[in-house]
Amino acid sequence: MSNTLTHPAASPYSDREQHAVANHLGMWTFIATEILFFGGLFASYSLYRWAYPAAFVTGSKHLEFWIGTLNTGVLLTSSLFMALADLAVRAGRRGALRWSLLATWLLGALFLGLKFYEYHLAAKEGHVPGAHFRLEVPQAPQVELFMFLYFAMTGLHAAHMIIGLGAIAWLLWLNHRRRLGADHDAPVSMVALYWHFVDCVWIFLYPLLYLVR
């Protein structure tokens, strides 16, 4: 028999599965816009790395390789817990959902903490482009350009991480209010897609910024 979800007058979706597919199509469309959003910066980066390869090597060597590598591991681990959260909500396991979301959130916060510490180190050593840039290296203007791209790309990524942390906090609140479960899992699945995508952006930022040799 029809219910509030399947009654034709109440819902544009033909059934639960079609509703889920529609959710995914919508989310992936949004992710496509994000690919282009970050893509603009990746395009700039590609162009200037093609133009000034030596300066990009110099710039990359002045970044904190170990913090970048550790941060990549932190984000990959956070994606693992986010995937486990997705499994937990679909199994209706609220306790497992809570700790896996918490773990994801804490790892994301750890990433940001390390990132801001890195920014602090960079500022201290005069790597920030602008009036206080003071690296005495060959091709300094081009190295400054690399640093500009570093701060712009990781800064945009960090902004996305902050939004993601807000979204996960919202999921934790929803779970606390018992509004998530096997038949209401879309918020978790969709936030998970966003989180994994932000992780993928970092997966590419890492070699492009830290591993240029």
């Binding site: 597919v21 992936w28 893509g39 990746f42 162009l47 591991g73 693992l80 997705d86 040799r213």
Partner: protein, 95 residues
């Protein structure tokens, strides 16, 4: 019978693969690869992204239409990069 879906075992196996690739890419940065450095590190990054897309983002278990939407963004990004480099790479060609 339930359709194929993501399981905890696949999550952990995927994670292990991602960590191995991370170790590989960190090592490759210090290895004497010469001109191959960039293709190798970007190739490993692409592999990691593919693993996240296919397993964590569950494209493995979705229908074709969802997969097309997932790849569409890269198609358009390809257009951006192609047109941009077509401009810059050919700037010296005419007097």
């Amino acid at each position: 019978m339930k359709a194929p879906h993501l399981t905890a075992r696949v999550c952990f196996a995927n994670y292990a693969a991602l960590m191995v690739l991370l170790a590989l890419t960190a090592l490759a940065a210090r290895a004497p690869l010469g001109a191959w450095k960039a293709p190798v590190s970007l190739g490993i990054a692409a592999a990691k992204m593919a693993l996240v897309f296919i397993f964590f983002m569950q494209l493995r278990y979705q229908r074709g239409l969802v997969r097309v939407f997932a790849l569409a963004g890269f198609f358009w990004l390809g257009i951006v990069l192609t047109l941009m480099f077509a401009d810059y790479l050919t700037r010296g060609w005419l007097p």
